[in-house]
């Protein structure tokens, strides 16, 4: 496939691996932010091909994984109301809430539907005027523009039976939370290419400056990832910390202005709780007051739910890169994709599920 096969070329990846082996002189720990990058690293078997000095840790960039239990419970509570059609992206359905998942709620009769775009949910609202259509607006900066547009469109078309349950999270505050953790051992970051496609690169300059940490905006294919890792290692070996762009074929310094304007029109920056990490100030989006009638939380007067995470799940340590999935005593035993204890085992982009799916039950398999 054009623009994909070139970035999956064995010769080029081997070239980067050789170059890495030549330049690396001591151990480095690099975090890839995005779950898509984690997925690709594991799926392509890259982790086992890297020089032993390089340790990749898997960041919090899987939207499914960081959505807190309380918000999933909110979504389920909404879905179980008889007037509601709850629309969601597919991979949120299997995530366990405190008592059940949306998939189980659906099996018990809740009207839960998989959609591929929030605009589809708006259309559903238009064709079902006697029902309340709620879109479960989950995701990082990447999905926010489309979700914002759905609100703008519903507003323009006077569709009053549409609202969104926003659970948007932002990358830079999470990176800061990780870097300011006293246990942090991350030497460099591969920033999430798709997030930067929307947001641009400027918001990472202050992080590089403040924490003296190399950040390389990186894509998702094997060649992208290895080139990104190579660029990060080169900086580390030289003792410099810069913001670099490996994914220049997609990411521009200024990002996508139109998309950012759509976000700014509909969302305000808000504090947000991250599953496994806790509350991070100014790390999410909430629907602006001007659009309050499209905010499902206000519309249905949801009370803030306080629920406890499963104590057996160490997702926080996993997502901060402090532990590997294999180091969890429940990995592959009590916790499997069919019975996940926590969210990283649910989405294929979650670190635990990626390890389980592609690396097998135990490391020695390979």
């Amino acid at each position: 496939m054009k623009y994909l096969s070139e970035y999956r070329d064995e010769e080029i990846t081997q070239g980067y691996l050789q170059a890495l082996r030549k330049v690396v002189t001591r151990p480095w720990t690099i975090m890839e932010i995005c779950g898509g990058q984690t997925h690709s690293l594991v799926k392509n078997g890259i982790l086992d091909m890297l020089p032993p000095e390089i340790t990749m840790v898997h960041g919090p960039g899987c939207p499914v994984c960081v959505t807190p239990l309380s918000i999933i419970d909110e979504a389920i509570a909404l879905a179980e109301r008889s007037e509601v059609i709850l629309c969601s992206f597919g991979d949120m359905l299997r995530v366990p809430g405190s008592s059940r998942s949306l998939l189980e709620a659906k099996a018990r009769g809740a009207d839960v539907r998989i959609v591929y775009s929030p605009l589809e949910a708006v259309q559903l609202a238009a064709t079902n005027p006697d029902r309340e259509v709620i879109f479960f607006a989950v995701g990082f900066e990447t999905t926010a523009p489309a979700n914002a547009l759905s609100v703008v469109q519903a507003h323009k078309q006077n569709i009053s039976n549409y609202s969104i349950l926003a659970s948007h999270v932002l990358v830079p505050p999470a990176m800061e939370a990780i870097l300011s953790d006293p246990e942090n051992k991350i030497d460099a970051f591969l920033a999430a290419g798709h997030v930067c496609t929307i947001m641009g690169m400027d918001e990472y300059d202050p992080i590089v400056e403040k924490y003296k940490v190399p950040i390389v905006v990186t894509g998702f294919e094997p060649v992208d990832l290895l080139q990104g890792i190579y660029m990060a290692v080169m900086q580390l070996e030289k003792g410099v910390a810069k913001l670099e762009n490996q994914y220049a074929r997609v990411v521009h310094r200024d990002g996508n202005k139109l998309a950012r304007e759509a976000i700014g029109e509909v969302f305000d920056i808000s504090d947000r709780t991250w599953r496994g990490i806790g509350e991070i100030p100014k790390s999410g989006y909430e629907v602006k007051d001007d659009y309050r009638k499209f905010n499902a939380r206000l519309k249905f007067q949801l009370e803030k739910m306080v629920v406890k995470e499963n104590e057996d799940c160490i997702s926080g340590a996993i997502m901060k890169g402090l532990k590997k999935p294999f180091q969890c005593p429940n990995f592959g035993t009590k916790c499997k994709p069919e019975h996940p204890l926590g969210a990283p085992m649910v989405s294929s982009e979650g670190a635990c599920a990626a390890y389980y799916q592609y690396a097998g039950m135990k490391e020695e398999v390979l």
């Binding site: 078997g45 086992d48 690396a359």
Partner: protein
């Protein structure tokens, strides 16, 4: 958009005059409406000497070792690019028999129809059942029709069962598989699943991908005619895809399987759609291909036989049975990295981003 051509148009065989233009509860009552639907519909379209007996069951002779299979078909949408539920129901059971090393002969056919189903849809499904059974060389010899209230079905559910004589040279069993054997896939993977998904509500995307639903029994027979017992194992990778079948083999036989990603035949459009939807093609359902396990020294011959067949042009060796990592399937990625290919858990769900 869809390139689907309804059998009634393709065959120039319009719907006969019936009392209603939709299925009603009366069509399942066993009374006059049922009788008319069967007479002018089912019996007329699927005509053969055994069905014509109109007995409570079909009566026929079977000789030698026989395979017997059953399967139910529930699919949305009922009509998809390249096929519909009717031909799927025939091809599915025909292929299941072929995978046993059998020569499919007779099928039963049971409909559960939902009240309100357009009669034209029912007619098109019937016609394509006839077409598919003619192509596969099987006869529909007995059946049943029930109607459920609106909202209690999904248009049409079909069950087919089938019997067929085991090919005299066949000995297809998972226990015959040996380390060193080669794994062959008979055609492009993931085509059916992606074709169906491309027409699901809310996901319609512009594509010319057609389902590969078809009977593979003739292709399998040629393989068995020429290779006999060297066809050690056959399985059609329907739900769960190629990955699931190979995992089943590895686990049942307690041997390992290595796969080479670059050897797996896939159409570029299908691969692109999978990328877009976040699906792994080796887990996507297929309807017109099969996996064959043959000894290493017979692999070239098997490929030669398959390549001569119109549905086998893309057949390829995709992997090997090995002593290492028993019970596990390990794939060599495009860039020569290794990963375990596990069983599919639940349904593949499209990703957020």
């Amino acid at each position: 958009m869809s390139t689907e051509v309804r059998p009634s148009i393709a065959l120039n065989c319009p719907l006969p005059k019936l009392d209603f233009d939709v299925i009603t509860m009366g069509h399942g009552s066993g009374g006059l409406l049922t009788h008319r639907l069967l007479e002018s519909g089912v019996f007329n379209v699927l005509k053969n000497e055994l069905l014509d007996q109109q007995h409570d069951g079909a009566i026929f002779h079977l000789e030698g070792k026989t395979a017997f299979t059953t399967d139910s078909y529930v699919i949305s949408p009922l009509f998809f690019p390249g096929g519909n539920i009717g031909e799927l129901a025939v091809n599915g059971s025909v292929n299941d028999l072929a995978m046993c090393g059998a020569i499919p002969q007779y099928l039963s056919l049971s409909f559960i129809l939902e009240e309100g189903l357009p009669m034209t849809d029912f007619w098109d499904i019937l016609l394509s059942i006839r077409q598919a059974s003619e192509k596969a060389g099987v006869k529909i010899v007995t059946g049943d029709t029930k109607v459920v209230e609106k909202g209690k079905g999904d248009g049409v559910f079909i069950n087919t069962s089938g019997v067929g004589m085991i090919h005299p040279q066949a000995n297809v069993h998972v226990n015959n598989i040996q380390a060193g054997d080669q794994i062959i896939v008979s055609g492009y993977v993931a085509t059916h699943g992606v074709a169906v998904m491309s027409k699901r509500k809310g996901l319609e995307f512009e594509t010319s991908i057609q389902s590969d639903t078809r009977a593979v029994n003739h292709m399998v027979k040629e393989l068995l005619d020429q290779l006999g017992e060297d066809v050690r194992f056959l399985r059609d990778p329907t739900r769960g895809g190629v990955a699931t079948v190979l995992n089943e083999i590895a686990q049942q036989r307690k041997l390992g399987i290595t796969l080479k990603q670059t050897s797996i035949p896939i159409e570029e459009q299908v691969e692109g759609a999978c990328e877009l939807l976040g699906l792994d093609p080796i887990y996507v359902a297929n309807e017109g291909i099969f996996i064959a396990v043959v000894p290493a020294d017979k692999a070239d011959e098997a490929l030669r036989i398959l390549h001569l067949h119109e549905f086998g042009k893309q057949a390829a060796v995709i992997g090997e049975v090995v002593e290492d990592h028993p019970g596990k399937v390990v794939m060599l990625s495009r860039i020569s990295g290794k990963r375990v290919v596990s069983m599919l858990t639940g349904e593949q769900l499209p990703r957020i981003c």
